[in-house]
Every structure is written in C-alpha cells, then in structure tokens.
Amino acid sequence: MDGSGILKGLGVTIKRLIATYVDDFKRGKARYRTDEGIAYRSSAEVQGIFTIQYPDEKLPVPEEFRFVPFLVGEEQEDGTLDPRCTACGICTKVCPAQCIWIVRSKDPKTGRPRPKPAEFYIDIDMCMNCGLCAEYCPFDSIKMDHNYELATYDRKADNIFDLQKLLKPVSYYAQIRPENYKREEEARRKAEEAKRKAAEARAKAAAARAAKAKAKAQQAKKE
C-alpha cells in the first residue's frame, strides 16, 4: 500500500484525457457536429471522449430501431394515402399494452363489415414500443417508426394518434427500413408470381381438358 496502485490508475485517466486532445488535434473540426465525427465517436475505434452532444448531434438509428408504430399507406394518384390495413384486428390482439383501437368500417348499404379501418387509434402514452404489432401484422400495414422525438406540451390533446396522424406513405417506410422493405416486396412479388403461375396452370389445364372433351365428342360423332 504505497500509493502506486492509485498512481497507476491515474495514469489510465491521464492517457484518456490526452487521447481526447490528440484526437481533437488529429481530426480537427470534423470530430464534432459532422456525421463522420458522430459515427467515429460511437464506433469501437474511438479514442478519448466519446459522448454525443444531443440535441445538436444525433446518433443515427439502425434499421431495426423501433419507436411508436405508424400505418403504411399506398400513395394514390390524387395524393391521398390508402391504408394497407384490412382491419383484421390482429394487432389489437397482440398489443401487450392494449393501446391500439380500431373501428372496422361497414358497407353503408348492407351493413356488412368491410376490410378497412374506419377509425384507428394508438394511445402513444401507453405504447411500450415493443414492436409486436408490426411483427404479427400479416399485411405489412403497421410498422415501427424511427422518430423518437415525440414530446408534446399537452398530452391530453396530442398523444392519441388517429388514422390521420398514423398514416405515412410507403416511400417513407422504404426509406427508413430499406432492407425490410426490399425483403417484403420480394416476398410479395414471389407470392403474386406463384399465384399467377398457378392461375395460368389452372387455365391451361382447363383448356386442355376442354380440348380433350371436344376431341372426344368429335370422335364420338365420327363413329
């Protein structure tokens, strides 16, 4: 117990301190407030200080990052968004916080349910950002957002998101989750192709059957 342990420990802190300045010197202005600087300071290579000056600087979020969900809408020609949602209700059933509320729309004439939501709410005060709704939605309609800056002044007025507030265009989705989007489009394309092929095959078989029947009939006639 001669204090050498403390001195050695202090050596570690001094090294870190110096590293910060050396790094500042080496990288100059690029170290702060640039995307490159932020990426460097949050990487495993970083020397010296590694903190990010939020909100002046923001850490980029990875693709899988999830925050309060949104609804994907297909962009229509008239500029409106048509929700992909079919009001199947699965998300309301998996949601652990039970913060999704859906009113299914009805055909005004027959009164029968239609596969579209009339109203759609998410109480974002309750949402626990678990992502289960997005995971189990069979129509790729509800997805987790990347926007985490949702503070408001009046939670009563602002924090129940309705259909209007929840709808975002497909292009936005493709932008924040490019890999997922690609995968899903690919799967959709394949499914459609398979469907088309199956339909074609069916049509072909039917045609062949018809031709055969015809030939048979002709044969019978001849005989």
Binding site: G5, T13, E63, G89, V94, W101, E119, C130, G131
Partner: protein
Amino acid sequence: MSEQTVMIQNEEDTLLSRFPKVVRKDERKGYEGYVVEANALTDFARTLRDELGYDYLSSVTGVDYLPQGQMEVVYHAYKTTGGPALVFKVQVPRDNPVVPSLVPIYPGADFQEREAWDLLGIKFEGHPNLKRILLWEGFHGHPLRKDWREPYFEAEHKPYKSRFPEGKVFRAEERNPFGKNVDYPAGFDPAQWTPDNTNALIYEGLGRVEKASDDLPTEQIVVNLGPQHPSTHGVFRMVVTLDGETVVDLEPVMGYLHRNHEKIGERNTWLMNMPFTDRLDYLSPMSNNFGYALAVEKLLGVKPPERAEYIRVIMAELTRIQNHIFAIGMFLNDMGAYFTPSLYAIEERELILDVFEAVAGSRMMVNYFRFGGVARDIPEDVMKKIHDLAFERLPRRIDELDRYLTNSEIVRVRGEGVGVLTPEQAIAYSAAGPVLRASGVPYDVRRAEPYSIYDRFDFDVAVRYHGDVYDRYLIRMDEVRQSIRIIQQALQQIPEGPIMSGKPQYQHRVPAGESYGRVEGPKGELGFYVVSTGKGNPWRYHVRAPSFINLTALAEMTKGQKVADTVIILGSIDIVLGETDR
C-alpha cells in the same frame, strides 16, 4: 438407469418412507415434486437440508387455486453442489391459509414469505416479521388473489374486447379519475393513520431509541437512507439504526416501484409477457427474456434451432458483460470516485447496447426472444461488430479497467473486509449470483444445471473466497472475462440455419402444468415459475428476482459496519429496483 435417476429414486424412497401419509407425490398432470401436509413441513424441510443436502432454498411463492378453494405454497430447493430442483408444495384452504414459516430452517425464505403474505394473504406461522413488504399498510386486500380486482377493472384477460372491432378510444384515467382510484381497507383513513410500533421507525425521519444495555446513558439514532438517495440506485430505503457511526440494525424498505408485474402477467397472454420481462431488470433484458422463454418452452415442449441457441447465448453473455461493467462503474460511484470509472464502463456498455439496438430494435427494452427461437437473425455487419468486441476491444478494455481500479489503494482499503458474508450465511440467505460466488460458493446455474447449450462451452465458474465487498468487485471482473470466453467460442461454433422452430405465433395454447425456468442472470439466479391451465394466459406467473432475494442478506452484511459502508455494501450487491419491486 443413470446415476442421477438412481439418486432421485433413493431420495424419493427416503422421503416417502420417512413421512408416510403426510408426504405424497404431486400426481397432477404436468406437475412435479411432493405435496407436504402443513404440519409436517418443518420436519420435511429439515430432512431435506440436513440429510439430503438440499441446502439452498431458491424460490418460495404461492399460487391461488381459486376453483379448488386452495392456496398452494411452492418451494424450489437445490443442492449447492448442483443438480435439479426438489419441488415441494403445501396446500391449505383458501379461506384460512396458514403455513409454518421456513425462516428458521432457510433464512432466505424471509422476504419471499413476506411477499407471499403481502400479495396472496398466506400467513406464515412463526415468521419473525410477517408484514407487508412491497405494498403499504393501507393497501386493500391481497392483489394476486384471483378474486381481487383493481379499482378500475376492465376484464380478467387481455386482449380486451373493447379494442376491436368497435374500438372507440378512451383513456382509463377518464373512467378512473385520480383520487377515486384507490380502495382502502374498511375503516382505514389515510389521514388518521399512524404506523404501529414496528413501523414507526420506518416512517419517522430521524428517530432516537434507547440503547438496551450499556452503562453509559447514550442513545442510538435511526437514519433513513433513501428512498431518494443517489446511493440506492433508484427508490429504495434503508432504515439504519446507528450507535455512533456503527450500524446496529438495518431494515430495507422497498416497493416504491411496485406495479404488480405478476398480476399484469396473469392478465397478459403468454407472448405479451415477453416485453414486460424487459422491464424487470432493465439492465439485463436479454437474460430476463431467456428465463421466461425457457419456462414457457418447457411447457410447450419446443426447442429452438441450433443457431437460435447460439444467438441466445451470445446475447445473454453480452448482457452479463454490460451489466457487470456497469455495476462496477456504479459501485465506484458509491465509493466516491464520482463518474470517471462509470463513464469508462458506460462506454463499453454503449457499444454492446448498439448491438442490441441493431439486432432487437431497442437498447434496453429488447423484446428479442420468442418461444422456440429469437425474433430476428443477427445481420452480417452486426456479427462483425460482436466479433471485434469479443476478440479485441473488450479484453483490452477490461485489462485497462483492471489496471485502473483493482489495485487502487482506495478501492482496496474501502472494500477489503467490509460487508462480509460467510459461505454458510450466503447459502442460508439464498443469496445468488456474484454475491454467492464471492463468498466461496462456486454455484452457477450455467454449470449446476446447464440450460440451453451451456454444457458445450469451456469456461470457469468464477469464485472468490473472502465474501467481502472487494471480492464482489473482483468476481464481476472474473465473470466478464469468462463471458468473453464463452462469446468467443460461440462465435466460432455458430452454425447457419433457421432462428425459429415452427411458425411465428401470437396465440399460444400452452399445455396445462407448471414449470420453472431459471437462468444465471447477471445478478444471480433468475427464475420464472409459471402455471398453465391450458388457456391463452398464464394462471400463475411468478418471478424469482435475484435483486430482491439478495437483499435478504443485506442486514447481516451491514451489522457492525460503519454507516458509510452501507452504501458500498448495497452497491456491491448490485440491485435494480425494477426487478426488486416488480
């Protein structure tokens, strides 16, 4: 027959012949263990401990079998030399549930029995201090009873019918306005209420007590450390009775963060509980997911595919690393090294959390495990990140942390010989994890009863022998190194392949029965006891929380120490209040 089955057979013969009529096997389908008559419980437990070597009582909890009119207390006992659990139960009538307390035999049952009294209303006869532990005295009823309902009650189970297809949104608080949302017991007026004697000290800020025996007419004082105190890592209170600077007695007071996780869990569907487990020990969410997944998978009878097993292990060990270095950083804070060490620790933790975020979508609330696998595969670039961390950065940084702290005279002087827990005490108090192993008991669930694929890895169970604060620091360092070893091996062995067995599902029909899934979490043995009646929701969902049970030994560790040391003793246990209070 393997050696183990022979041994279990022998145990069974011993127990059944020793206790004819009062002990029988639990014959219910999907259940295991023994059912013991209440009046034979104490003898039974003593036999277990003294003759059969089940010296470690891990978990005590109750289940309300409302349709059968029964309350059941479920015990899980283990041998610290390893092996499976011996489960035993006591069934008592629901309207007057009285069970003898096991505190005299297993002191570790103390808090757990209090919890069962608090939440289920089971009386433990002979318990030295049977009062509420998570709730306060003005709470009405015992909330885990199946017929108890919260003042604003919507339905027994989720999903609620009101959400679809006529989901007209409203807020619960509109129907349950503040001020009217509490029930008090009959005749209870919070304004008039004064605590009784045993509680008076707790509620008084600073009290004086007569010293029992001393020639000098001096007084002792009672000091409340917390609930708002930087050293308590959250809202937690230590009521310390002091004689000068020396601690004479300490009583932990908790429950400030209580939300009745277990009741919520019993309202939830099986899957919904997964993200809720993240919020227990929010510093190690992957381990929480792991434990719960194991418990439910046992009932479902599914096994994750190989790749998923490896991913699970990698994630669980990364969790352990970030938990331990964070614990070390915060522990140094408690010691007074204000924030420099913890900042260094946080840096490594951040890099690990980046991995979690990229894989699971969230840094802390990972919700990553599914029954039969994991939610997502690890992308190529993240795999590389983990690789770099495990093979390069982390070993280097741990060495640096080691150089920085381990031989620092301040750390040693403050840590050595402080807060000692002997091996016997550690076992008796059901301490778990680093607290147990720093006291010289090499008990690690990964080795004692390997789960998942832990039997494939080469690693040492870290153990230290002094049982003091300094050893609890050292053991975390050791364990970080072992975890790095495990990750390195896992990265080398991980095969390609699917990450889920079967189709992803959101509604699970879980076969009726009970199951206990336990993992070696960073804080100790984390167990999930679940009971299914074959429905879409668990009938019982209990968490054996190491942060909570490790506090049972806190009073013992602090007695005779200086008041300043209580802070670092608490820090050395490493608790997270989200798990302690549940």
